[in-house]
């Protein structure tokens, strides 16, 4: 973590305690997760007790305290997607990536997560990759999907 990058966030956002949510969002965007030193700095700078910062970081699903991969795969396991076969998709993805939901692959390429309904039940089962919705998924489409993301990743990180 490069602490210098944090300064603009803390300076631009001012120093009022109520700005903590915006600061946390910016930190999440900057590093892809919430590093402990950054949260300690935010807590001191805004005058919000560390436990409150920790509580917020734990409360919202949009925040992560662990480093996340460059690509986020979210499998919807809401009721509709569940009955349309989401558990099967999840199993397949877990086996292919060798991680459980909430975990990140060793090469830091993928983070796998589940969500309980995205409000797009008619499209189910739904998988979201980096914010893009892939509808009516079935296990046979997974290899293609992962390959698309991997090729995009190779452009992002050529040496990987």
């Amino acid at each position: 973590m490069d602490a210098k990058q944090l300064d603009p966030i803390l300076n631009n956002r001012g120093s009022e305690p109520y700005e903590i949510m915006e600061v946390l969002q910016d930190i999440q965007d900057l590093y892809g997760f919430l590093p402990e030193p950054a949260l300690r700095a935010a807590s001191a700078s805004l005058g919000v007790p560390l436990i409150e910062v920790f509580r917020l970081a734990n409360f919202y699903k949009a925040f992560s305290l662990k480093p996340r991969g460059r690509h986020l795969l979210t499998v919807c396991n809401g009721t509709a997607c569940h009955v349309k076969g989401a558990p099967r998709l999840l199993d397949e993805l877990m086996a292919r990536l060798n991680i459980a939901p909430g975990e990140t692959t060793a090469d830091e390429a993928f983070t796998l997560e589940t969500v309980n309904c995205l409000g797009a039940c008619a499209l189910g089962p739904v998988i979201v990759v980096d914010g893009v919705y892939y509808e009516h998924m079935d296990p046979s489409k997974l290899d293609g999907l992962l390959e698309t993301v991997r090729s995009r990743d190779r452009e992002l990180v050529p040496h990987a």
């Binding site: 402990e36 007790p49 436990i51 409150e52 910062v53 920790f54 409360f59």
Partner: protein
Amino acid sequence: MPRMVTITVDGARILTPEGSNVLEAALEAGICIPNLCHVPGVTPLGACRVCVVEIIENGRRRLTASCTLEARDGMVIEAHSENVMRARRNIVELLLAEAPNSRAIQDLAARVGVTECRYPMRNNTCVLCGRCVRVCDEIWQSKSLGLVGRGPSRRVALPFDVRPDLCKRCNNCIQVCPMTITPCPGPLTEPAICARCESQTSMVENIPDTCVMCELGRGFQCARWQLKGLDARA
């Protein structure tokens, strides 16, 4: 002098300062409303629901926690109706299933007359009453602890799970915790209802509605003992 309001609890008219909560008003007047998460002098949280009562408004009855219920003039409360007793037993039964290893919870079960537990016993180490958190925050002005996470992953935690510099090492969080009182004749070999306090349990049938400053209440750190300024610890 704060303005006084009159409320009726189980038919008794009670004069209490405006802004006080119904639980404390009743306890001050000697009416027993079993309670667990409430600590006098600290903001009520309403986490355990043990202090459940019925409030009667316009002929309608509604169950609610009494510690978070502000006394208003003319309020009518039933603390020992059939409905309330049933709800309270059920609530305590759930607590007992969570933490049969706590003397406080076992005592509470004895006081409200829980004789069987229909839920699987879990032996948890925390019932999420939030006493520790509020005492740390409000009495010690320390904000070292918090209730972290949502739903089943809710827990009491220190920031990043390490003791922060803010912590004054007063140990008050541990003193007010109902989980720190182990059952009397040593821990039960397997989770069960202990109900060994027979001298005390007879009071459940005979005097359910009057606070008798029971030893059980002392065990579960009932707010009445604290209001009296007595050592709440057994």
